[in-house]
Symmetry: C2
Subunit: 759 residues, 2 copies
């Protein structure tokens, strides 16, 4: 599959084209600085942009670092161009086959310099010492974009090094429209903003949800990836990263007309100092340039590296068709193949759970109101579940949801409706007192509340063909979770759980660290790997945003890292929210969005005054438009009972696919996609739109020729509206064939859902 | 055993006397500030000193803290005086019985205040809110000193709180002589300084061993505990702490004539801020006052507390006889009784080890020189011992000590000489590349080098009645150690190890944290408890200084936390070093000092140019003068072979005792102690002196009347001198009885050792 060709060593720009020639990468070492640019069909995507790093010096100076960054002074050492074309099969995914087709350009650079000649204390001449460092930049040029990463081969003078900041530039060609959320070290649970690049600074402060418990923004032009943009001449550009493994999550800081300095201040204690002044002595990049900004650890450092090593891939997806943004596999392709030999235990899953009623405020996670605070043991000897609380004698508060009777009802509901699992939150002791207290021993993950009979409930579920889904809220006390993780996973194995939803609410412990730092990203990966060792699937909430690692570790079946459905009960998600997420958050991997809230007006069944920003049918559409192998039917069984005809779609819809066709898409406006259920000839189609509504003429080209399909259409009623009339819907059934056209109307904040069962 | 008496609530000072009346504690709330003082036989020990805390406010303000410290505004709420007298038996120790006899005074204080009346946004009157906080200070008054601690009962308004600084004052009555080392967040491996208090600042910078990899000093008058002092009128005063559990280690900052501000600056990131200005708005304490200074975490915080909770005990030992400083059990008594039910697996141990030859530089911990750096797996799935090194094919460097042949020779040596265990360092992969790189996955604790056959060697040892002792150097990567600890201890159980020497060289990971912070102290305790769960004894090097926890967890059989014998191979310990350590470092628990270097001139057998700061006989004395249940015969078998007659003392000497009598003592000058071996009638006597030499007339009063003893005296030769003639010694044997007098001469830097075997 590889074709190798060594290029002549010329001091001129190298051009590398994508297989179909649409995407062209240009690279050169210009005045000693690595510089690249990207075009698409001849249009500028990334204008000439520098690449490199600022380094920090360690206090021991044991790493042998000179006070010299990896920004300039480079010479070309070697160039290598190869081609690659391979088709692989994911364990689960949107399509059965994924083609990985690119041209690769790996350029090896060296920095060489000589110390000045010296005389020693005895006045003797000391021969000047020569230094040499090596760094490779590897580009992969796809028809739908470019990925590049830095690689550090094993070498004497960059054996260990500390990153003060990565300085990868992405110079945009104009004042593009962007769908962005504030760059933040700890949270992504923000509403997406739709502005021009030049408007980011002015909008920034209002864009931050300061009420979120973990807000840690760093710059008024700092934004998160994946960042979706659209140019005035119709290009869609998306910047993100792939395969972020043991490296800090990247944000982007925009240079705009008001930028005076890049944000480089080192936080933290005195273990590091900065050898270079702010802005590295170079002129600022041109306006509309994004510069990478990594998440620091508690000392302010951005990375502790040991060669041989490489960074994540920095990805630039581009097309003149918005649908290509959604069907692209560029990020998955840039991740390593699956490292788990036996994947037979990994399976897409539809589930319900004891969850939404607590989010809405109708019931509680915690069991008793008797104690102002709780202390749990650290799991070591001698261990007591709690040193100051006796749960056996504590008075139940009567609002604790995860009780035997209720969980059995949810199990019954799952069994009756083809849902494979039941998530139960609040099953374990400690919920009386858990968030934002910088409390280390916050949960032990093995001790159930007195009214949660873990053996009985698992036995009851298994007898009905259902599994319980484990819940491990860590309260971001990762030290505590790692202490308990082996015991916790052994408990899961013992009782037959094979999936865990993890949570990272609140400030990170070890204190001072951030959710998206190198060490925390390492923690999330450690959890995924330790889970794999125990044949456990992971659905990680409040963790770092995904970067396609689910290819390598397909037991990472879901994540959150964005505003999920829970915000509908807080103050609501905008109707266009789910028309943006597939362009942004979902680029790195599936999201456990927990759709399916059919009773959208919460005050009809609870004291919660809020309303879901979607019609009832819009909620059905999400099972198709928001791809995930893990799909929750998030509403309460008693609410589904009111809409059993609509609920039928949730019962029917698949969550693993042989094929997916994005039929229409525009960021923030609408998405229409048809998917073929894995191992069947059945198709499901979803359409979701923003507050404007949408009309869709859906030509069924993709059906098998000559075959007939039982078609059920779930559509907003003519007068439906997400705010004023959300639960008005029409269900139509007919028989269709290839080439038929469905004319579908999506209400403001609505959508549609179609099932096509092969006859 | 308790006698309870409620005192009347008078707004005057309360006096509490020790059982024999020599020590008197006085407490009052003076102008709202808790104030105490201590006298001994009428002399001032601690002049009126304030107690309290500065608090930090958390960024979420979820803890309900007002911007109000725990320093002033207190009223007396309740006083309680009790007496206690109990004799207990340690699992191992200097004496079979320990008497715990004190009078206790517990004073409950409250802060009450009312917010000012407000009007809300609608102009309505808001009733002023009343606040109340409770804090108890508990004093225990012994005949040899005082301990006190702060206690926080469960309460609504101090449920969680953050400590910015503890402000416990210890106002000294004069410009005492002090034996001190620089206050430091990460190391105690410093030479003790002997100066007046007023001279600390001037000596400070020269007192720091800046070459130590972990130096983190904080103030030019900052010193560590245990701090030994002597007053001009002959009082010995020692300040330390007891039962430091999940709390930061305390240092002392001296207010001297030049002090302008206390050191209060918060390091770290912005998760906390300081509600009060420096010095809290109060005048500085008088000169010669020590103020507590806790070790911060990465954010600069000193403590995250959850009530109910208490601080460690702050201890003030006092006597007019220096020997009482050494025989005191005040610190052990202030710790909780043993929490391990079955202690049958805990045993005092004499051992040798593959260690000194690496320290001296004759052989290596690491196996190969083939690789500039090493990467190990994180123990999770899929795990590989190393991702970039193949140890099976790597070329051995020929200097790796922990090889099968050498370890067998050490086992043979141990078996032949009554040593129960053999420590082997450098047995596990990773030593090529381990220190000070801020490398997380530095060791895996389970993978031996190819030339260390873990099963064969343990079988070989067990067949000879010897055990191997495990070694876990963590390189201070505590995150990594905690990930591996269960697997590592299971490996030990599998192969029959029952003791582990842990090490914490280098900077702490999580990065930014310190060796002596609350979270690290919690880590060390977690290790001790996890080890207890696996029936493993712990000998913890470079960890925090001990505070008597070995009473509660007697599997903590040793520690380092001071300059040990290893420094003899670096640049030497001063001859008086071991005449100070029993007054300072050993107050909190035994030290694994690793004595017994008989070949004191290292250049006679290696290329190391250094020399031990002691005579050969002085090394023998340490087995008696430096109490520890864990005693190493640290020299090489081939060196012991040269001095087998002197080595006989190391073979004979016990390491567990029924009785101990301190016969002579003066800090930094000399210590003479006689100990009765556990369960026998045999006595061993050790005398150690500084560079001045010492003459000792030793009257054998403590022997059993009418009994005769075979007495072997190991003495410095007349012309012996630690520097010029260290290995000149005389061994004399005779029979002695009660009342006999031994006239013994200790050479400069020398000592003596005597064994008395009951006939």
């Amino acid at each position: 599959m590889y074709a190798l060709m060594l290029l002549p060593m010329l001091a001129m720009a190298t051009e590398v084209k994508s297989p179909n020639g649409n995407v062209v990468l240009t690279f050169e070492v210009k005045e000693g600085r690595p510089t690249y640019s990207v075009t698409y069909k001849g249009k500028d995507v990334v204008r000439p942009s520098h690449l490199g790093f600022e380094l920090a010096k360690d206090k021991h100076a044991t790493m042998g670092l000179e006070e010299r960054d990896l920004l300039a002074g480079f010479e070309l050492e070697k160039e290598e161009t190869t081609s690659f074309d391979e088709t692989w099969q994911p364990v689960w995914g949107e399509t059965r086959d994924i083609r990985n087709h690119y041209n690769e350009y790996a350029v090896s650079l060296q920095q060489q310099w000589q110390e000045e000649a010296k005389t020693d204390e005895q006045g003797r001449h000391v021969a000047p010492r020569a230094h040499q460092r090596h760094m490779t930049i590897r580009f992969r040029v796809y028809d739908d974009g470019v990925g590049f990463r830095y690689e550090f081969p094993r070498q004497a003078e960059l054996n260990y090094f500390l990153i003060k900041e990565e300085r990868s530039e992405f110079a945009m060609a104009g004042d593009h429209k962007a769908w962005w959320i504030p760059g933040d070290y700890d949270t992504q649970e923000q509403e997406t903003q739709e502005t021009r690049l030049s408007e980011i600074r002015g909008r920034f402060r209002d864009a931050v949800n300061w009420g979120n418990s973990s807000v840690a923004v760093f710059s008024e032009t700092g934004v998160q990836t994946s960042l979706q943009m659209k140019t005035d001449d119709g290009l869609y550009i998306n910047i993100h990263e792939a395969a972020c493994l043991d490296y800090a999550t990247m944000h982007l800081e925009l240079v705009d007309g008001q930028t005076k300095h890049m944000t480089t201040k080192l936080e933290g204690n005195s273990n590091v100092y900065t050898p270079n002044p702010t802005d590295m002595g170079y002129p600022l990049p041109q306006p509309f340039t994004f510069v990478s900004h990594l998440t620091p650890d508690a000392t302010g450092l951005k990375g502790c590296m040991q060669s041989p090593c490489e960074t994540p891939w920095r990805t630039i997806m581009v097309s003149d068709d918005a649908r290509d943004m959604l069907s692209s596999n560029l990020i998955l392709n840039l991740n390593e193949p699956c490292k788990i030999d036996d994947t037979s235990w990994i399976h897409p899953t539809k589930y319900c759970g004891v969850w939404w009623e607590m989010i809405v405020g109708k019931s509680n996670w915690h069991y008793t109101d008797d104690y102002p605070s709780i202390k749990l043991g650290d799991g070591a000897f001698p261990n007591a579940p709690s040193t100051i609380v006796n749960y056996q004698t504590a008075k139940p508060n009567g609002r604790h949801a995860a009780n035997n009777e209720k969980v059995k009802r949810y199990i019954d509901f799952a069994a009756a409706n083809g849902l494979q699992q039941v998530l139960v939150e609040g099953w374990n002791v400690g919920w009386e007192d858990w968030a934002n207290m910088w409390k280390r021993d916050v949960f032990d993950f093995v001790t159930p509340y007195p009214n949660f009979d873990i053996k009985m409930l698992n036995d009851y579920a298994h007898a009905k063909g259902v599994k319980l889904m484990m819940h491990h809220e860590t309260s971001s006390s990762t030290q505590n979770y790692e202490r308990h993780i082996k015991d916790a996973y052994e408990l899961m194995n013992k009782y037959g759980y094979d999936a865990v939803k993890t949570g990272y609410v609140g400030d990170i412990i070890p204190r001072g660290d951030h959710h998206y730092s190198q060490s925390m990203n390492n923690h999330y990966l450690y959890v995924i790997k330790e889970a794999a060792r125990h044949h456990i699937m992971v659905n990680s909430h409040e963790a770092t945003r995904p970067t396609g690692l689910c290819r390598t570790y397909p037991n990472l079946v879901g994540g959150e890292s964005a505003r999920g459905t829970e915000y509908e009960a807080f103050h609501g998600n905008n109707p266009d929210h789910t028309c943006i997420l597939p362009f942004t958050r979902l680029q790195g991997g599936p999201m456990d969005y927990t759709p399916g809230i059919l009773e959208t007006q919460l005050d009809t069944w609870s004291e919660n005054p809020h309303q879901v920003g979607s019609t009832l049918v819009g909620q059905l559409a999400l099972y198709v438009t928001m791809y995930s192998p893990l799909q929750m039917a998030a509403d309460l069984p008693e609410n589904y009972a009111k809409y059993m005809d609509a609920f039928q779609f949730i019962r029917d819809v698949a969550c693993d696919w042989d094929d997916s066709r994005y039929l229409e898409a525009e960021p923030g406006d609408y998405i229409t996609v048809a998917r073929k259920a894995k191992g069947t000839d059945n198709w499901f189609i979803g359409g979701k739109c923003d507050e404007q509504g949408h009309r869709c003429n859906l030509r069924l080209d993709f059906l098998d020729k000559g075959r007939r399909y039982q078609c059920t259409i779930y559509q907003d009623a003519k007068d439906a509206h997400w705010k004023t009339n959300p639960k008005a819907y029409v269900i139509t059934k007919k028989t269709v064939k290839q080439g038929d056209v469905l004319r579908l109307m999506e209400a403001p904040g609505g959508g549609f859902a179609v099932s096509l069962i092969a006859l």
